[in-house]
């Protein structure tokens, strides 16, 4: 457990080191989300998940970070577990950011109404699905080799957010205040199931990965 927490801490420190480049963009996106519409908060969510999962990994690979990670006394399976825990923390943080943006917008009576809170299960599903697809690719093949698939996943996430914002409740950019009661836990369970399938795949891929570069 200690090694896993050390890996997560290391990833957060890496994120802090590269955040300088991302921070202004995120601030702009946050305020745009707060002022435009609730569906824009969903876009904020997708961007936060993408940036915080993908960008530090990309910078790290640029610096050949696998050689540092590979030299540390931590087993590969613990490293994979730490990556997934980090991603879950990113999903949680992105949900909070989307909620905050939606809340600010609603409090200032900006945007077109709706509620991010009601769409939280959908956001969690999108985040889990993104992690479930992207993390095995990053761990198994590296960011550079998997970048087109990762971009495709991101594009799908944006498209899903667009469809949500336009079509849910039959009203453009309107969202229901809450999903039907039976649907919300199902969506979250489905997200968890995707991660449950993805995790052993990532473990197997990373256990077999050799660093030839």
């Amino acid at each position: 457990m200690k090694e896993m927490l050390s890996v997560i801490r290391m990833d957060l420190l890496k994120l802090r080191s590269v955040a300088g480049a991302m921070f202004p963009l995120l601030i702009i996106v946050f305020f745009l989300s707060a002022t435009l519409s609730v569906s824009a908060a969903v876009f904020l969510y997708v961007i936060v998940v993408y940036f915080f999962v993908y960008t530090p990994a990309a910078y790290d690979e640029q610096s050949k970070g696998d050689y540092l990670t590979g030299s540390l006394p931590v087993r590969r399976e613990k490293l994979v577990a730490a990556k997934y825990l980090y991603d879950l923390a990113v999903v949680a943080g992105a949900c909070l950011a989307a909620l905050a943006a939606g809340g600010i917008g609603a409090a200032l009576k900006l945007g077109r109404g709706g509620s991010v809170t009601g769409m939280l299960p959908v956001l969690i599903l999108i985040g889990c699905a993104f992690t479930a697809f992207v993390q095995p690719l990053i761990l198994g093949f590296g960011v550079t080799r998997a970048r087109y698939w990762i971009l495709a996943a991101y594009a799908f996430g944006v498209a899903a957010a667009t469809v949500l914002g336009m079509n849910v409740g039959g009203t453009r950019a309107q969202m229901p205040s809450a999903l039907p009661g039976w649907l919300a836990p199902l969506l979250i369970l489905f997200g968890a199931a995707l991660l449950a399938v993805s995790y052993p795949i990532a473990r197997r891929l990373y256990a077999r990965r050799q660093f030839t570069d």
Partner: protein
């Protein structure tokens, strides 16, 4: 101190794309000594070190570090191992103090006093970003981190490459200090043979994925001689006793593995000089290439 910190037996590693095969029936690194690993570019030095580090997996054979299998016990092994690769892997945007924060929690034996001592010795500012350091300073920082958790084995891949002579000498001095004070075993690869002359106790020559020559450096240099003489002295019989022969119309130069046999033929008409590590390496490598032709 008579154990082997690294033992490789029956190792084979194939790379299908390039056709390169690393073939090491046996390779050992002695505890408490400096073992230098030399070979030309593409000889397999980095591949060997990556196999020890569990960054690559052997197709056949076994790699043991501290008596334990490198893959199964990689976590335990790496706690006592300091590694400086050709690529350090440090995030360029991170400050040195942040990199310390990243690495420190993984090592129970981490020693901040040692870390700060090396930062002072190398004049490294912990507030500076890693990418803003020169190549030499980056290597020095990597060494400071590697030594700060009191490793039993220091594994280095081309540690002095791209360093100026002053920085290179300082790095070698620090290694010598660490070996003397802490009893650290050192295994490093290089193609700068003069580094091995200065610091290595044992040397391993790698060529085309195979071990050409290995042994105690002083024994190897004492048991070989560079033979120089007039061109007419280079008979077929003499040439068979030499390797890496260079001949011009006026004279010849070659490496003798059995200087006594050469002296029996040439007597004092030839000159006999103690070889450097570079002479040994060039002689044996040229012989391999000559036989391949």
């Amino acid at each position: 101190m008579d154990q082997n910190v690294i033992e490789i037996t029956g190792l084979k590693k194939r790379f299908d794309k390039s056709g390169f095969v690393l073939d090491l029936p046996r390779l050992t690194v002695r505890e408490g000594y400096v073992t230098g690993f030399i070979g030309e570019n593409g000889a397999g030095k980095t591949t060997t070190i990556k196999l020890v580090m569990d960054l690559l997996f052997p197709d056949e054979g076994e790699v043991r570090v501290f008596g334990r299998e490198a893959h199964a016990f990689s976590e335990q092994i790496k706690r006592d191992l300091g590694y400086i690769g050709e690529q350090t892997g440090f995030l360029g945007q991170a400050k040195l103090r942040t990199l310390r924060e990243m690495v420190k929690p993984f090592y129970p034996n981490w020693d901040d006093v040692v870390f700060r001592r090396y930062l002072d010795r190398f004049s490294l500012d912990p507030g500076k970003k890693f990418k803003d350091l020169s190549k030499g300073k980056q290597k020095q920082f990597a060494l400071a981190l590697a030594l700060s958790h009191h490793p039993k084995l220091l594994l280095m891949d081309e540690p002095t490459a791209n360093l100026d002579p002053l920085v290179r000498q300082e790095l070698l001095d620090i290694l010598a200090d660490e070996i003397e004070q802490e009893g650290v075993s050192v295994f490093f690869s290089t193609h700068i043979t003069s580094d091995l002359d200065k610091i290595a106790d044992y040397i391993l020559f790698l060529h085309g994925g195979k071990l050409l020559l290995e042994g105690e450096k002083d024994v190897l240099t004492d048991s070989h001689r560079i033979v120089k003489g007039r061109r007419e002295l280079l008979t077929g019989e003499v040439e068979r006793l030499l390797c890496g022969v260079e001949a011009t119309e006026f004279g010849f130069r070659g490496l003798a593995g059995d200087p006594g046999a050469v002296h029996a033929l040439l007597g004092d008409e030839a000159l006999y000089e103690k070889p450097t590590v570079e002479d040994l390496f060039l002689g044996y490598t040229r012989r391999e290439r000559g036989e391949a032709r």
